[in-house]
Symmetry: C2
Subunit: 118 residues, 2 copies
């Protein structure tokens, strides 16, 4: 049991679309991720996913519209909802999601990861 400084943790890595785990509670992980460019369309069949932007701008394309999150904005993508995250410039994002969550949801490719602890 300790305190985690979010900003300091973000300084420990530079790769994109590769979440780092910083906390665990109630079967959920708290993850930090740096995003830049376009991710793939995907969905999580069994997990709702929270995005909280702490730096930059995150666009989340949905099938019928697009969400734009600035610093200090959060949104929850419910399970089963197809989405495509895009960050035109690097964005720093906190994720809250079940431990079972994979980055690419129901799709398996070279970007698939459950994250690693830092």
């Amino acid at each position: 049991m300790n305190t985690v400084n979010v900003k300091s943790k973000f300084e420990l890595f530079n790769d994109h679309w590769s979440p780092k785990i910083v906390g665990e509670l109630n079967g959920q992980y708290v993850k930090l991720t740096k995003l830049k460019g376009e991710f793939i369309w995907h969905q999580h069949d069994h997990e709702d996913e929270l995005f909280l932007v702490v730096k930059g701008t995150l666009r989340i394309m949905l099938e019928d519209r697009e969400l734009v999150l600035q610093e200090g904005d959060l949104t929850i993508v419910p399970r089963g909802v197809r989405h495509k995250p895009i960050a035109d410039e690097e964005a720093h994002v906190i994720l809250f999601e079940p431990k079972s969550t994979l980055t690419t949801g129901a799709i398996q490719n070279e970007q698939t990861t459950a994250g690693e602890w830092i």
Copy 2:
């Protein structure tokens, strides 16, 4: 499904120790709370509780030590761990915890609440 601006939500209320719910996912709530002064010693028997400080300083007294969280710090108090939150000046905190969580844990008093949606 929408975006939530955390800072704007904090402007909607001024009471202390009375969490406001701004999101729900995977059986958990995302809550915002303003803290000032001392809360009671309590524990949550079945819920781990995350505190993320977005403004001010939060002290969390434990039985054997004290955690001090500044802006941008988070900590997770595991279920069963007695704790006493203190904010010498007003602090703004994001909570992430199971929907069943009551502010005072296993204790019932006039400060007991599960929070309300804003």
